[in-house]
């Protein structure tokens, strides 16, 4: 593989995992957020070769249409998405955040979302979805 291939492009083009979206491709919008060894990172700011030997989790690993992750179910219930383009990145940002902060204050939720751009919702319903999910039970 060419070393200049970004992890985001490797996931989408080589593995066909198109759940990870690419927006700005310079680390601002957060749409391409995935977990690298359990931590949220921008996959457009990592070379695919750098993930060698590490565990990468994408939105495809979160839940399925038949069996939604509790956070995905809360997003559906609270109408936390409209066009849905930013949603995978937001979910992958929030999952480790909620593991670390199982019962966050609203200000903490908004700060956690600060690295993800959403141009549809105005964020309010996303915050509501997180509140619906919290406090999160251990091992959710």
């Amino acid at each position: 593989m060419e070393p200049r291939l970004l992890l985001s492009d490797f996931l989408r083009q080589d593995l066909g995992l198109t759940g990870t979206h690419v927006g700005c491709e310079h680390g601002v919008c957060g749409a391409c957020t995935v977990l690298l060894d359990g931590e949220a990172v921008r996959s457009c700011l990592i070379l695919a070769v750098q993930a060698d030997g590490h565990e990468v989790a994408t939105v495809e690993g979160l839940g399925s249409v038949e069996d939604l992750h509790p956070l995905q179910a809360a997003f559906r219930q609270a109408h936390a998405l409209q066009c849905g383009f930013c949603t995978p990145g937001i979910l992958m940002t929030l999952v480790p955040f909620l593991d670390e902060h199982p019962n966050p204050a609203e200000s903490e939720i908004r700060e956690a979302l600060s690295g993800n751009l959403c141009r549809c919702t105005g964020y309010q319903n996303i915050v509501d979805a997180v509140k619906l999910s919290t406090p999160v039970p251990a091992g959710w």
């Binding site: 491709e25 949220a40 600060s114």
Partner: protein, 293 residues
Amino acid sequence: MKPAPFAYHRPETLDEALAVLAAHGGEAKPLAGGQSLIPAMNFRLARPAVLVDLNRITELSGIRQGGDGLHIGAMTRQRAVERDPIVARDAPLLAEAMPFIAHPQIRNRGTVGGSLAHADPAAELPAVMLALDAKLQVRGPAPRGVRSIPAGEFYTGLFETALAPGELLVDVTVPRAAPRSGSAFAEVARRHGDYALAGVAVRVTVDDAGRCREARIALLSVGDGPVLARKAAKAITGESPTPEAIREAADVAAAKDIDPPGDIHASPAYRRQLVAVLVRRTLERAFERARNG
């Protein structure tokens, strides 16, 4: 593919990395966390012919307390510093500033050394290290070998540092704070995590009578690099930190220590106003902490 082609090296040791850098001269660029370099490469504003990925060099990562202060390896992730209990106890200014650096996703990947060596004038870590009078350890080829550069001499211009070609920043040492020291950090950005329009990191020490013995006031986003507000520090040193004395020092910082740039986000006058307010607020908090600590 977004970045232009490059030859990729992934050394496992510092010696190996230095050898690769030496072999390629100015053509090679070290890759730390990549949170500034890879965006620049995606835009093709940066087109290094050779990329030396430092991420497998475990000896460059870690936080430990040494005889001369707190040592932070250059490849230590910003998130690790943010969560570290030793940092919170021994370098509270650093701990306070960490959450202001971009977003968690960036801090999970970004490194201390990467930010310090990148020398973005809007970056938090250079100003914090300047306020803490930190020493930056650099390694390079002979004859220079190992050098220790005070933060105050490390920054030489816009995105410019004292690093010579082939040299790598390997460690930053934060000296132990004197007794009765206090610190504080504040910045103003349009959204949390955006580049700051202005920011301030201060550390002060008071004497038995509560007078200011030393003040280090470092400003960000108001010059070509981090700016040490020497005139403001001189104005407060030896004084009792009354609200009036603090306000005077803050006004000196805004009026005499800086020549801030104007851009679409803030005019020079607005940046001066921000500096006056932020220096006043951080000095108030830092002196209170020094008195209580």
